[in-house]
């Protein structure tokens, strides 16, 4: 395992410290609770947004703390949900009297820990939560853990963040977050595995000509293993189930988010974006907003994911609203 680290146990706290040192104007770090907090909080009267999850997905979530996005992000160990006490601390810290929205990716651990945290602040802070579950690689079923939360989480954080910044109520912010999640679907693939620092070995092994289709963001195995094919074909494999599941059709307007899993460089990511754009153009679906880059990653994994969000005027306005965080910035 070759990583730019000091000690395996220090990976998460030292990385958080780095974020704090690089962006002192935007965030402050509570190292005891491993929470990234927006400077100047809590904001009276504004709904607070708290997210969090296992580390290893940077810039998610800590890189999205700031104006127009999150108020706090809880960092777990690598690929391990943070604990209720972290979430409790974050929730209390950002409550400005208007309540707090928990943005939770749909994994058993995240859901259970956020639920425990909500129980812990019950009576003190009004908490609502939205669970993102956009990964079409996973069959949705009442009898399983359901779909995973992946790329849509970034879009929920941006758009719900803008809604909260506008002064919406907790119910209003929650409804917007749910609207984004309901209108977004994702699917990803990997060229290589990632290495959990504490494990020290790759989570899975892929042959020199193999790829994993339907990968999650933790190196968990995907739908199937395939031979490497041109990216145009890979993109079709990812885009089709998304388009089907969202029932996108001619004339629809989407935000296209092409995300690097961490180790894939921009030169390749833009080729993938081109593939996605041409598949959508073929179907008469227009891309009126786009996001290309590493925003929800799996450590050093090479690969990419595609997230499509069906847009309407409200979502466009909220997407375009100012945002100023370590990883996403415009209009401010």
């Amino acid at each position: 395992m070759k990583k730019l680290i000091n000690r395996v146990d220090d990976v998460v706290p030292e990385s958080l410290e780095g974020v704090g040192l690089a962006h002192p104007d935007l965030v402050k770090i509570d190292l005891e609770h491993k929470v990234v907090l927006r400077v100047g909080g809590p904001r009276q009267g504004k709904v607070g947004l708290v997210s969090g999850g296992g580390s290893g997905h940077e810039p998610l979530h800590g890189g999205f703390v700031g104006l127009g996005m999150l108020d706090a992000a809880c960092a777990g160990n690598v690929f391990t949900s943070p604990t209720p006490d972290q979430m409790e601390f974050a929730t209390r810290a950002v409550d400005g009297g208007a309540g707090v929205l928990h943005i939770v990716k749909n994994y058993t651990g995240d859901v259970l820990n956020f639920q425990m945290a909500a129980d812990l602040v019950n009576g003190d802070v009004e908490v609502a939560s939205v669970v993102t579950n956009d990964d079409v690689a996973v069959q949705d079923s009442l009898y399983t853990a359901g779909r995973r939360g992946v790329g849509a989480t970034v879009l929920v954080e941006k758009i719900a963040g803008a809604k909260a910044e506008e002064g919406a109520t907790l119910d209003g912010v929650r409804a917007t977050a749910e609207k984004v999640n309901a209108n977004a679907r994702s699917m990803g693939m990997a060229l290589t595995s990632c290495i959990v620092p504490a494990a020290g070995t790759p989570t899975f092994q892929l042959g020199d000509d193999e790829i994993e289709i339907g990968i999650g963001i933790h190196g968990e195995p995907g739908r199937r293993r395939e031979k490497l094919v041109p990216v145009d074909e890979i993109a079709a494999t990812l885009v089709e189930p998304i388009v089907d599941d969202l029932a996108l059709s001619q004339g629809d307007d989407v935000l296209a988010f092409v995300n690097s899993m961490g180790g894939t460089p921009l030169i390749e990511l833009y080729i993938a974006f081109r593939s996605v754009a041409s598949l959508l153009a073929d179907r008469g679906i227009s891309i009126s907003r786009s996001l290309v880059g590493p925003y929800i990653t799996s450590l050093e994994m090479a690969g990419f994911s595609v997230t499509l969000l069906r847009l309407d005027d409200e979502l466009k306005r909220l997407w375009d609203a100012p945002v100023h965080t370590p990883a996403l910035r415009w209009g401010a």
Partner: protein
């Protein structure tokens, strides 16, 4: 320990501490194996998670016994502190699940200052029920319940007839058999459920760590 009929045997706080410490040692020893099982059908952190959690439990026990002002602990109190420690340090799915397991077990013993082995088995049963409630799973879903549930019903069956070590040995045996029986199952809960049919053919990491806990229980009470 002599082969007493187990219903009448008292479970002391020291026995629980010994169990927790032996569990911590065993989970550390087998952490890599658990992580490898989790790499196959999960995200490759289960061994790391439970090792971190039980190391913290052992540290909690050490800290407590080094503190002259700490009140004398009882079984329910130790189980509760164990739950709190796990919830605070493990994270992931297994943190709240094992946390709930110990929390519900503790609650079940709250009214028993001198619990018997029967009380302990009933308490662990309550713990397993808590896992089923918050996780929404049941035996056959390829989770820790596939080790816990058969282990505790085997123990219950043996309770009136068997000696302490027999009761806990059959529980540990059943837990290990239950963990092995997860191999052909298709997961319906937790991260492995994302795999659908590809989850078949691998042993569940959480069922395996549960079997380790139950074997440690048998071994520590016997010792």
């Amino acid at each position: 320990m002599p082969a007493l009929a187990s219903t009448t045997v008292f479970v002391t706080e020291g026995m629980i501490e010994a169990w927790l410490r032996l569990s911590a040692t065993r989970l550390r020893e087998r952490s890599r194996e658990l992580t490898e099982l989790d790499q196959a059908i999960g995200d490759g952190d289960h061994g790391i998670n439970v090792d971190r959690g039980f190391t913290a439990v052992a540290a909690m026990l050490d800290g407590r016994s080094a503190d002259p002002a700490a009140p004398a602990p009882d079984v329910a109190g130790t189980l509760k502190q164990t739950a709190q420690t796990l919830i605070r340090t493990v994270g992931g799915a297994s943190g709240p699940l094992y946390g709930t397991f110990f929390l519900k077990a503790s609650a079940s013993l709250a009214g028993s200052p001198q619990p018997t082995l029967g009380d302990l088995i009933a308490a662990l049963d309550a713990g397993a029920a808590g896992v089923a409630t918050i996780g929404g799973g049941q035996p056959g879903d390829k989770t820790m319940l596939d080790a816990l549930t058969p282990a505790l019903s085997a123990a219950r069956e043996r309770l009136t007839s068997g000696a302490v070590d027999q009761v806990l040995a059959v529980a540990a045996d059943a837990a290990e058999a239950g963990a092995a029986a997860t191999i052909p199952m298709q997961a319906r809960k937790g991260r492995a459920s994302y795999l659908g049919e590809r989850s078949i053919g691998h042993q569940d990491p959480g069922a395996t760590s549960s079997a380790i806990l139950l074997r440690a229980l048998a071994d520590s009470f016997q010792g």
